[in-house]
């Protein structure tokens, strides 16, 4: 989907991002030529199953991939900076300052040896010439913002003295220390209790809106996506099979995989009591060696011979998808055109 036309220059622009992992048994094509744009203040949700390449994509933007993973792209631009060509020093300057990241595991993502205060202060002082005192003030201000009570006294506490929910709030505060323009949140609520999940998520969305921060939210929870996303990217086996504004993707899902995913969650008013929820039969194919054609064809009910060949890009920007069927086989499933 390389012809997204926008009048405003996007903050993050990704074209043909490809990630290959050399393994003993061959090359694993973990991410295969994905494109997306993200504008200032926008929230892009990337959804997909485990192993579809969502986390790798986010690490690729951060420049934090394992050394053995090969990254290439026609374009990987953040506010005019070419992230592929950027020096280590340049990337270090961007990370934590203009692009911040929130990880999945709050229990282990804070250093056990240092206080919350030390770690928050460090986040700011790595990028700004400010005094410790000023940095502490900023830390307190942000801890209060993320809803932590008695913020000043929390600064001297260690991670093990806080609950998972509190730790994730600290991690969010840490990501916000330098007022980043982009936050990448990799399943930030997956490891938390269900009751806490909703709180943390609303907090994150509220703060990004309030501070006008763009966000890439990686999740496999479609309920979350429906609530917070401006844009949605559906990822399957290393490809973005469908992208578009959230209302379009949910209102008129084009790719058979997207519809499959949506059938897997109950919808109030639509799903009848006692009715079985949908499942997508089969498993994700191996991405080792040459990958040809549509990766979803082994599980797709509408598979035809052409699925083995090159898959055309369909739809009109901003809502696009990859499928041999011009209508994404909507007609075949009895969905309105």
């Amino acid at each position: 989907m390389s012809h997204i036309q926008d009048t405003v220059k996007p903050l993050l622009s990704v074209r043909g991002l490809t990630l290959d992992i050399p393994l003993a048994s061959g090359t694993l094509h973990a991410v295969r030529g994905i494109d997306f744009d993200l504008h200032k203040g926008e929230t892009l949700c990337i959804v997909g199953e485990s192993g579809s390449g969502k986390s790798l994509t986010s690490l690729a933007v951060m420049g934090l991939l394992e050394k053995n993973i090969r990254r290439s792209a026609e374009q990987l631009n953040f506010d005019g900076i070419d992230l592929i060509g950027a020096s280590k020093r340049q990337m270090r300057g961007l990370r934590g300052d203009r692009i911040a990241m929130i990880f999945q595991e709050p229990m282990t993502s804070l250093n056990p040896a240092y206080t919350i205060g030390d770690q928050l202060v460090e986040a700011l002082r790595l990028h700004r010439k400010v005094s410790r005192e000023k940095a502490r003030e900023r830390a307190i201000e942000l801890l209060e913002k993320v809803g932590i009570t008695a913020a000043a006294s929390r600064l001297s506490q260690y991670p093990h003295q806080l609950s998972g929910g509190l730790r994730q709030r600290v991690v969010i505060a840490m990501a916000l220390m330098c007022e980043p323009e982009l936050i990448i949140a990799d399943e930030p609520t997956t490891a938390l209790d269900v009751t806490i999940q909703a709180q943390i998520l609303s907090l994150l969305v509220e703060l990004t809106k309030e501070m006008d921060v763009a966000m890439i939210l990686i999740t496999h929870d479609l309920g979350v996506v429906a609530r917070v996303a401006d844009k949605v990217g559906v990822m399957y086996a290393g490809e973005l099979v469908e992208t578009g504004p959230a209302t379009d993707v949910f209102g008129k899902p084009m790719h058979p995989y997207t519809r499959g995913l949506l059938h897997c969650i109950p919808q109030p008013g639509k799903t009848k009591r006692g009715e079985k929820l949908g499942t997508i039969p089969g498993i994700v194919p191996s991405l080792i060696g040459d990958v040809q054609g549509c990766a979803f064809r082994t599980r797709c009910p509408h598979v035809v011979e052409a699925c083995r060949g090159d898959i055309p890009e369909r739809g009109q920007p901003p809502h696009e998808f990859l499928c041999v069927h011009a209508d994404g086989a909507r007609a075949a499933e009895g969905e309105p055109a």
């Binding site: 270090r92 990370r95 990880f103 040896a113 206080t115 790595l126 260690y158 093990h160 840490m174």
Partner: protein
């Protein structure tokens, strides 16, 4: 932190007390001390006389109490063999052993920790392989053999270093290397394993995501967490070096406390052996205590446990 230190201190005191009792009573388990002291040709009356002279006829607990009371005041009695106060005898020898032990553990840490870190940064690289080779060699080479090789090479062939004695600092170079090299492999491997594990942890990724540079990631965020088991190991190694450097002390004719222990055991010099066992145990206890405190400072989670 203070309650933790007090708790550990109390525990250390308890262990020290137990050890003192064991070290005192062990010698009575190895036979009749009066008979041993009197020699093979002594008559029964002679043995009885010695028994009364040294107070072996009193109940053991009384003897222990007396011994402990004196020991706490630094009086360990008189050496049977040297006919000198044990305390001054040991004080002389201990300075040699302490110097050797401190130099040995310093040498071991200064080589092992950087090597372990370097090996962990690039696993399976040349540095990692060299470090592995050095540690296997260190583990496999008996210290008496390694010591002799050094003496032959640097003491006799090249004449760079004095082959034996303890009068100048040059005398300590070879013993330090032999003693330290023996402790190095374990410390190196533990540092490497710890660093490898820590470098793969989530909080290291967080530090990188914050924009921290490699040096900061390695030394501020990773090493502090990886070094914790190394501290405990180094404490035990240090205790071992002070008490068990007999071989090294013999080869280089450094008459330290280890050598004195060997002499005293061979000569059945009970007061000296008792005092040495007690002192060596105290070293272990002190170093373990210090290691615990250091670890609690490094890792706040330990303070609450």
């Amino acid at each position: 932190m203070l309650p933790f230190i007090l708790k550990r201190l109390g525990l250390a005191g308890l262990v020290a007390f137990t050890v003192s009792f064991i070290s005192f009573s062990l010698l009575f388990l190895s036979g009749d001390p009066a008979a041993a002291l009197a020699g093979e040709t002594a008559s029964g009356e002679d043995i009885e006389a010695i028994r009364r002279l040294y107070g072996f006829d009193r109940p053991m607990l009384v003897q222990y109490g007396e011994w402990l009371f004196q020991a706490l005041r630094g009086n360990f009695g008189e050496s049977y063999y040297f006919k000198l106060p044990v305390s001054s005898l040991i004080a002389d020898r201990l300075s040699v052993t302490m110097t050797l032990g401190v130099c040995g553990i310093t040498f071991a840490l200064l080589t092992a920790v950087p090597l372990g870190v370097a090996a962990a940064i690039r696993p399976n690289s040349i540095i990692d392989r060299v470090a592995l080779f050095l540690s296997v060699a260190g583990q496999a080479m008996p210290s008496f053999w390694f010591g002799l090789i050094l003496i032959v090479l640097f003491g006799i062939k090249l004449r760079w270093l004095p082959p034996s004695g303890a009068s100048t600092w040059q005398h300590f170079i070879m013993p330090t290397i032999v003693l330290g090299y023996y402790a190095m492999p374990a410390i190196m491997r533990l540092t490497r394993a710890g660093m490898l594990e820590v470098l793969n942890s989530d909080y290291i990724r967080t530090a990188r995501a914050k924009g921290a540079g490699e040096g900061r990631v390695l030394f501020k965020h990773a090493l502090r967490n990886a070094i914790i088991p190394v501290v405990s190991l180094a404490a035990v190694q240090m205790g071992f070096m002070l008490g068990g450097s007999i071989v090294v002390e013999s080869i280089f004719a450094l008459h330290g406390a280890g050598y004195l222990a060997w002499e005293s055991i061979a000569r059945n010099d009970l007061p000296t052996v008792q005092a040495l066992i007690l002192i060596f145990s105290m070293f272990y206890i002190i170093f373990t205590f210090l290691a615990d405190v250091l670890n609690a400072w490094l890792d706040p989670r330990m303070r609450s446990s």
